[in-house]
């Protein structure tokens, strides 16, 4: 063959190479546009609004804030709550996870279920339970007249510890689940004591999981406003202050400035967490030998006691809420009554239906959106891949309230095409999809990576098109994961407050917000009944999905993430 022909062929194939990379941009853009619209665009509005003053753009809002003694105190409050809560939650969650993964104590599966139970309830259920127990009209104060005053700092801390406990537990449990027995055996051979082995082997091996758990707790607490609203009394934190500014005083500028202040620590925490959690996988090599916990009477007894105490606290809260929903008037007339399930106030039971409708939509849309993002990033490498990845995990750094506020500012404007769905249940579902996008995307991406690229190649050599490969091979293999992601979106959408609080209208009220409003009005029994309905809905759905998965032969899929 002549040199010319070879040169031609070479430049042809180079061109083709470039062409295929450029072709990848099209799907990246298709997937990226909604992400930009529903994540980036609202955030730019938050940023813009926080700088907008009566005399044009400037730092005046920030200056006013920093010069304000009350604001500095609230900021201090937020950090005081968040740091103490995080430390306590991590200690408890680590102990609990350790007991489940590394001891031989009985009923470990039952304990695992109890630990994740709070995930089935609206995020303020902890405060709700605490108020029923220790509040002004709580059963303890009424019965024993102890004069316990829980409202304020410690109320928020206790409620928040219980709130973030399951999240920390899930992360730490995963970190403790993987262990290389050989390392422990060699530590023992070298004469290390149990405590020493724990300090020098276990703790360092789980340091990434620990870091991830710390950051997740930190973000959840500093951006949570349901619990402080219910049990905070006069003790105001940043998240509840955003609510007060926006809903109470319609002061969007101040709301956005505080939102920005919340965004910064949450963003830092999210970035560090993503960096750190990527390293967890490298710790276990293929030659590792799984660790089988050995019996140790003393240790197991101690861990059992700790697990029992923690479980008791969790169960007590939920049990009290369930119980209160079934009595005539807590805590005065404790006879059985179904009257709180009549839902004869306000919109009646409609908010629960709204929630279910929204959650089903969020589950359906969420699965498609995160899977599309993961698929495009994995299979269509292009110059836009990095940007798309960034957009996909960006929501992890955005507090729900900030995103919701961004939606008001960005879309509550007849000039914006999205205005057509503003004030509908649909936009609330969309808000949930994008608020939880990062987590769903990472689950989807991880399992897509585990599906060997070999299958794509085998399919291609057999004549399969991309679409055929996707529908006949990738999708069936991904199916159990997709079900897990759908359940994840459903569960979170059922219980979340923060992402939706600014988006609801009287007609699009959701169940979790109803709980908050009823609680706020002192209708604690009815609030409890609403919470129970949410918990029951989630449990029924989980059970149904579990049965479906078992029936289709996918027994080893974890549904709770």
């Amino acid at each position: 063959m002549s040199t010319l022909a070879v040169d031609q062929a070479a430049s042809q194939s180079r061109r083709k190479n470039r062409k295929s990379r450029m072709a990848g941009i099209v799907p990246a853009i298709i997937v990226g546009i909604p992400l930009a619209l529903f994540v980036l665009f609202p955030l730019t509005h938050i940023l813009g609004r926080s700088f907008s003053t009566p005399d044009g753009y400037g730092l005046a809002n920030y200056a006013a804030m920093l010069g304000n003694e009350r604001f500095l105190r609230i900021t201090w409050n937020s950090f005081a709550v968040t740091i103490v809560t995080t430390i306590l939650a991590i200690v408890f969650a680590y102990t609990f996870a350790y007991a489940i993964q590394r001891s031989t104590m009985p009923f470990r599966n039952l304990f695992r279920l109890i630990a994740v139970l709070p995930l089935f309830a609206p995020s303020l259920v902890q405060a709700q339970g605490l108020v029923l127990l220790f509040g002004r009209n709580g059963i303890i104060n009424r019965t024993f007249d102890l004069g316990i005053d829980l409202y304020g700092y410690w109320g928020i801390v206790i409620a928040s510890v219980l709130y973030v406990f399951p999240y920390a537990f899930l992360i730490l449990s995963a970190a403790l689940a993987v262990a290389d027995a050989r390392i422990y055996e060699s530590a023992e051979m070298l004469g290390a004591s149990k405590w020493r082995a724990f300090r020098t082997v276990t703790l360092p091996a789980t340091r990434y999981g620990l870091a991830a758990a710390i950051f997740v707790c930190f973000t959840l607490v500093i951006t949570d406003f349901g619990n402080p609203m219910v049990i905070g009394g006069d003790y105001t934190v940043l998240a509840s202050e955003v609510y007060n500014q926006v809903i109470g005083q319609a002061n969007f500028e101040m709301g956005t400035v505080i939102g920005m202040v919340l965004l910064i620590p949450a963003a830092i925490a999210a970035i560090v967490e993503k960096r750190v959690s990527a390293k967890q996988y490298a710790l276990i090599s293929e030659h590792s030998k799984p660790l089988v916990p050995q019996q140790d009477r003393m240790r197991d007894r101690f861990l059992l006691a700790a697990a029992l105490l923690i479980s008791l606290a969790i169960l007590l809260i939920v049990a009290v809420v369930v119980f209160a929903s079934f009595v005539h008037l807590w805590p005065y007339r404790m006879n059985f009554s179904l009257r709180h399930y009549a839902f004869d106030v306000q919109n009646g039971i409609q908010p629960l239906w709204n929630s279910i409708y929204i959650s089903v939509m969020a589950a359906g849309i969420g699965v498609v959106v995160v899977t599309a993002a993961a698929y495009v990033i994995e299979k269509f490498p292009s110059p836009a891949t990095r940007a798309l990845y960034f957009l996909s995990i960006l929501p992890a750094a955005v507090p729900g309230m900030v995103l919701g506020l961004g939606y008001i500012l960005a879309f509550n404007n007849p000039m914006n095409p999205v205005y057509a769905i503003y004030g509908t249940l649909f936009i609330i579902a969309i808000a949930n999809v994008y608020y939880y996008h990062a987590h769903g995307f990472l689950i989807s991406g991880t399992s897509m990576k585990q599906i060997s690229g070999r299958f794509d190649e085998a399919s291609a050599t057999l004549g399969g098109s991309r679409l055929q490969t996707f529908t006949k091979v990738t999708l069936p293999l991904l199916f159990p994961t997709l079900v897990g992601i759908a359940v994840f979106f459903f569960m979170r959408s059922m219980v979340t407050l923060s992402a939706v609080i600014f988006l609801i209208t009287p007609n699009t009220q959701v169940a979790a917000v109803s709980v908050l409003y009823l609680q706020d009005r002192g209708a604690t029994n009815q609030a409890a009944a609403f919470s129970v309905c949410i918990i029951a809905t989630i449990m029924v759905v989980l059970l149904a999905v579990r049965l479906l998965l078992n029936a289709t032969g996918h027994k080893n899929v974890s549904l709770i993430r």
Binding site: V6, A10, S13, K16, R454, E457, T461, L462, G463
Partner: protein, 342 residues
């Protein structure tokens, strides 16, 4: 000429995986790519399959340029090293997959899949999932799947390397038999020389992205052109030569091999003379350092005079005793058995 590669070059960043490879494969031929790990065998196979793009060079099939043809339109059957059966499909569905993608009628797909299943003698396992099949069975299904669409070329990337020795040997025969029966042009990658020698019509020995030598098993064994090939296929004593002298002894090199700087001789070509007078012309005196007795054979490790050089000779096992007891030993290297290497 079925398949022709010309000037194929491929880089991964700064590493040159393939450097200017040209090669033609005859119709119905069985070719093996043989070489050490990382020499570019897989990359070359993947370029032929269309799974990888060459930076330079062309791949032609029956005179057609394939550069613009993506893998799925090439109709080449590919069997990968392992784990490439679709785990969500039964053996039969795996085999029928290629026809399914071509939207053939159901009845035709089923008939063809059953036929292919019979070809690899797994008829009773058609409804099992890959996870319920042994490694050898999985690879046979993969072979059946690759052949089901009547491919023009069959490409195999170390299809047997994940299997144990027994299964490997029987599958070698099976693959070769099926290949001959269908008369399909086949390229197989391997780093196992025995596999290449027993299966291939011709072998392409590769060394860091280039073709070191191409030939039949016999040609490669008897006339290696380089030290690399000589050592890679069988065993070879490599001896430095200066002015036709080795270890101070004049070598009787044929006229076309005068002036060589490196020669090779196979252990079985080294003749041992026990008890001969050291001064005999053409004989090189040696001392026995070590005997490796293998039953039917024995390897003798010999020191050549005081030169510090060693040479390995292979003798029948029963001849071992006489040699070990001999007072003097010498070796003879016949000119026709000496290979000149670069």
């Amino acid at each position: 000429m079925a398949l022709a590669l010309s000037h194929v070059t491929k880089r991964f960043g700064s590493t040159i995986a393939l450097n200017d490879i040209s090669l033609t494969v005859e119709r119905g031929e069985f070719i093996c790519f043989l070489g050490p790990s990382g020499c570019g065998k897989t990359t070359l196979l993947r370029i032929i399959a269309g799974l990888e793009l060459a930076e330079e060079g062309t791949v032609m099939l029956e005179g057609r340029d394939l550069s613009e043809t993506p893998a799925r339109h090439r109709n080449f059957g590919v069997v990968f090293q392992s784990y490439s059966l679709f785990p969500n499909m039964t053996a039969l569905r795996n085999i029928g997959y290629g026809l399914e993608c071509r939207r053939k009628p159901r009845a035709e797909i089923d008939a063809r899949a059953a036929e292919m299943l019979k070809l690899v003698e797994l008829s009773e396992h058609g409804n099992k999932l890959p996870s319920q099949l042994s490694g050898g069975q999985q690879q046979r299904i993969a072979l059946a799947r690759a052949l089901a669409t009547d491919p023009e070329v069959l490409l195999l990337d170390e299809p047997l390397s994940a299997l144990d020795a027994k299964v490997r040997e029987s599958l070698r025969l099976e693959i070769r038999e099926v290949q001959k029966r269908l008369g399909i042009t086949t390229i197989m990658v391997t780093h196992d020389q025995e596999e290449a020698l027993t299966m291939a019509d011709r072998i392409v020995v590769m060394d860091t992205g280039t073709i070191a030598q191409l030939g039949t098993a016999r040609e490669l064994y008897e006339q290696p052109t380089s030290r690399f090939v000589a050592e890679f296929i069988g065993r070879m004593n490599i001896l430095p030569v200066e002015n036709n002298l080795f270890a101070g002894q004049q070598l009787a090199l044929p006229s076309d091999k005068q002036g060589a700087t490196m020669i090779g001789i196979r252990p079985e070509d080294v003749r041992i003379h026990a008890g001969a007078a050291p001064s005999d012309p053409g004989l090189i005196p040696v001392k026995l350092r070590n005997t490796i007795y293998l039953g039917h054979l024995a390897h003798l490790v010999l020191d050549v005079g005081d030169s510090g050089k060693e040479i390995v000779a292979e003798i029948p096992g029963h001849a071992c005793k006489a040699i070990v007891d001999a007072p003097h030993l010498a070796i003879e290297m016949r000119p026709e058995t000496i290979k000149v290497l670069q």
